[in-house]
Amino acid sequence: MADQDTTQYIVSTNPHAHSGASVQRIMLDVIIALVPALLLSFHYFGWHAVRLVTVCVVGCVVTEALCRKLMGRDLGIFDLSAVVTGLLLAFNLPPSLPSGMALVGCIFAIAIAKQLFGGIGYNPFNPALIGRVALLVSFPVAMTKWHAPLNAARWTALSWIDGTTTATPLGAVKTALATNQTCPVTWGNTSMLNYLLGNMSGCIGEVSALALILGGLYLLYRRCISWHIPVAYIGTVAIFAAILRIAQPDANMPVLFHLLSGGLMLGAIFMATDMVTSPLTKQGMLIFGVGCGLLTMIIRRWGGYPEGVSFAIILMNSITPLINRATRPRVFGRKRGTS
């Protein structure tokens, strides 16, 4: 080693080895996990799904870059988190939503819910959900205008005819229960298959439970999420729905209907598991999941909105720091809670 004297060796604190994990790789895994649902959204809603996904992804990434630039920081878009937010926001939008409104959602999600708090890692609420809820309260009509999947007309229907709107299954149930107190939606093997595949009206990315579960399994395999939040969340909804169904069969839908309709799968697998805004420990994740499940069912059954997943997760986000505090592990060699 002739140049030993001139070589600069790296001197840093231990450890000198790393697992190779990175934020960027985690975000890439989430994007990969969203692909099945993405393809199905194209299948059902065609051009409009492509339009919304493009607007939201580009909108989120550009908003992020602009905010960072304004604040004099590095661009920060290469961690891919803005892409994930864009995809998730698009997945939470009805197919006919105008692009301009979707863009407003992007700005809310990234500029207000994320960068104003300090950027990645510092946002208390899931940015995509804040974007969605901001749109819901700002444009209530456009955000609740639903259409059945276009199928054959998916690439030709460039504008929507208002007369073709179809309520979401949850919306239909809510309206019917408010008037005549019996379940209006028929439920059998065919409808179950349709629900599983996503052949129903709803937000573009939430409709297919199967595609979302597939993505969830990939995330589990890649250890980007753990089972705790999805299982606790979906399990709580199932138990809650079962109790309601047994108590009042005429006024409540079956368990599977609750599991497969609305945004539950998208919420439980992709939104509630957002690392930044969910608890740190497994125990905390279980509490978080149960809380999301309870709030979702309470809103679905007794709330003003037909669906409660977004609100449930945002509400639980707000108590994540408290859950973290309450579920700190017992330190080795100490009694719980001592220092």
């Binding site: 080693m1 030993q4 070589t7 060796y9 790296i10 001197v11 840093s12 604190t13 231990n14 450890p15 000198h16 080895a17 790393h18 697992s19 994990a21 990175s22 934020v23 790789r25 985690i26 961690d79 300090g118 950027g119 990645i120 890692g121 510092y122 690392m275 930044v276 805004t277 969910s278 608890p279 740190l280 420990t281 497994k282 973290n324 700190r328 592990p329 017992r330 330190v331 080795f332 060699g333 100490r334 220092s339």
Partner: protein, 448 residues
């Protein structure tokens, strides 16, 4: 006597790339005495020794050159015969400065006279044996280097019932203990019996990770006729199974309370290399003047397990292993998880130098730290059940009180959290800094 799997398991841990194959099958080689030996008076944790020789003195191998300077301190002996060229200050591998005695060996390697072993150690009083070990300057050779005679002198109100021999060697790359167990199993077992007698421990467990089947087999054979409650505990290969408190739990199910020592739960843990040094001191009367260091890494021409004199310059160690065959970005004294990065090859070996590791540029990462994304992987990895995610944010905000409340002082700096962190946060750096600030604050509070 059969090896049995460990019954208990501590939280966390990680599975780094081990790369033990580089040196695992290389028999221990005795390195020739280098041209100069620079013996640091700071060989371990605790107070450095006071040099008692001066420039120009002739010394013989095994002659005392550094006196203990306090309770937690160990004597230092000349690693070979020769002339003292200088007594000065020099940087240590730990990044501090300490007194150093530079010896130019005469090549004769003459032992000092009067060194005698205790052949009849079985019927010798423990106190006499411990004095012999103290005189031999033995300090824990696994890493931290706690003076062994202190460890073997528990107060009477803390009886020791279990002696654990640490052969886990959970640090990646390192194979020195592995080779010692394969090549010196019988001797290690005698050393173990000496320590057992000193402590009056009824139970003996040799803790070895299951990636070392040859070492397990060798120890099994050496202990074939052992009597009493003696056994090998096979640990699942997982870093940091060799950490003292974690190993005690894995082996016995006992949890050392925070701020306490293994003796508080009736245990003493000794590294296998230390055990060998104890044997040498008691049976042959020889002070600790050499140790096995694994010189390894992909850029090293011939990775080896080198028996070298204490005070051997790192550059000589590397030369003995054929020098380098590739570019080096990082030099580490010790293993990759807890070792100390070196600015060069100027430091010399001490009683705790278990490895000298060279990493190629592609094996070395320099990261830009990101904000914590609260993934929780550090919590899953932490063997002390801490919450590094929260601690690191508190320490970044210099909120030392909050960090103290979350038990930052319990951190063992094993590096599992930083290894797992996808945001590449310098978690160990935060912890080390936090610990020293909290300690400083406590000392200041005491003074008032």
């Amino acid at each position: 006597m059969k090896a049995i799997p460990a019954k208990f398991k501590v939280n966390g841990g990680i599975h780094p790339a081990y790369h033990k194959e580089l040196a695992r099958d290389k028999a221990i080689e005795n390195m020739p005495i280098p041209a100069l030996l620079s013996v640091s008076m700071s060989q371990h944790l605790g107070a450095p020794a006071n040099p008692i020789v001066k420039k120009g003195d002739s010394v013989l191998r095994g002659q005392l050159i550094g006196e203990t300077a306090g309770f937690i301190s160990a004597a230092v002996h000349a690693p070979s015969s020769g002339t003292v060229k200088a007594v000065s200050e020099a940087p240590t591998a730990m990044g501090t400065t300490a007194a150093i005695v530079v010896i130019e060996p005469d090549g004769e390697d003459t032992w000092i006279e009067g060194l005698e072993g205790i052949a009849d150690w079985q019927s010798t009083a423990p106190k006499t044996l411990v004095e012999k070990i103290a005189a031999a300057g033995i300090a824990g050779m696994g890493g931290a280097g706690f003076p062994t005679h202190v460890k073997l002198s528990p107060p009477p109100d803390k009886p020791i019932d279990t002696l654990i021999l640490n052969g886990a060697e959970c640090e990646p790359y390192l194979t020195a203990d592995h080779r010692l167990m394969i090549e010196r199993a019988d001797t290690i077992w005698v050393g173990c019996q000496i320590i057992r007698k000193i402590l009056g421990a009824t139970t003996v467990r040799i803790a070895i990770e299951d990636n070392k089947p040859e070492a397990i087999a060798a120890m099994e054979q050496a202990m074939a006729n052992a009597e009493g409650d003696v056994g090998i505990t096979v640990l699942k290969t997982e870093y940091p199974q060799g950490a003292e408190k974690q190993q005690i739990f894995a082996t016995t199910g006992r949890e050392v309370p925070s701020g306490k020592l293994p003796m508080d739960v009736g245990c003493v843990v000794e590294n296998v290399g230390t055990t060998l040094a104890v044997w040498d001191a008691i049976v042959n009367g020889k002070p600790l003047t050499e140790r096995v260091t694994t010189v390894t890494g992909h850029p090293v021409a011939e990775p080896r397990n080198v028996l070298n004199r204490i005070g051997t310059p790192y550059s000589d160690l590397l030369a003995f292993c054929g020098g380098l065959k590739g570019d080096v970005a990082k030099i580490i004294s010790g293993g990759p998880m807890m070792g100390l990065a070196q600015p060069g090859l100027d430091a010399t070996t001490t009683k705790t130098t278990s490895g000298l590791l060279f990493l190629a540029p592609q094996e070395t990462q320099t990261f830009n730290s990101m904000p914590c994304i609260a993934c929780g992987r550090c919590i899953e990895a932490c063997p002390m059940y801490l919450v590094p995610a929260e601690l690191s944010q508190m320490l970044e905000a210099e909120d030392y009180e909050a960090a103290e409340e979350l038990n930052v002082l319990d951190c063992i700096e094993c590096g599992c959290c930083a290894f797992a962190c996808p945001a590449h946060r310098p978690l160990v750096q935060h912890m080390k800094q936090g610990k020293s600030k909290v300690m400083l604050k406590r000392r200041q509070a005491q003074k008032k």
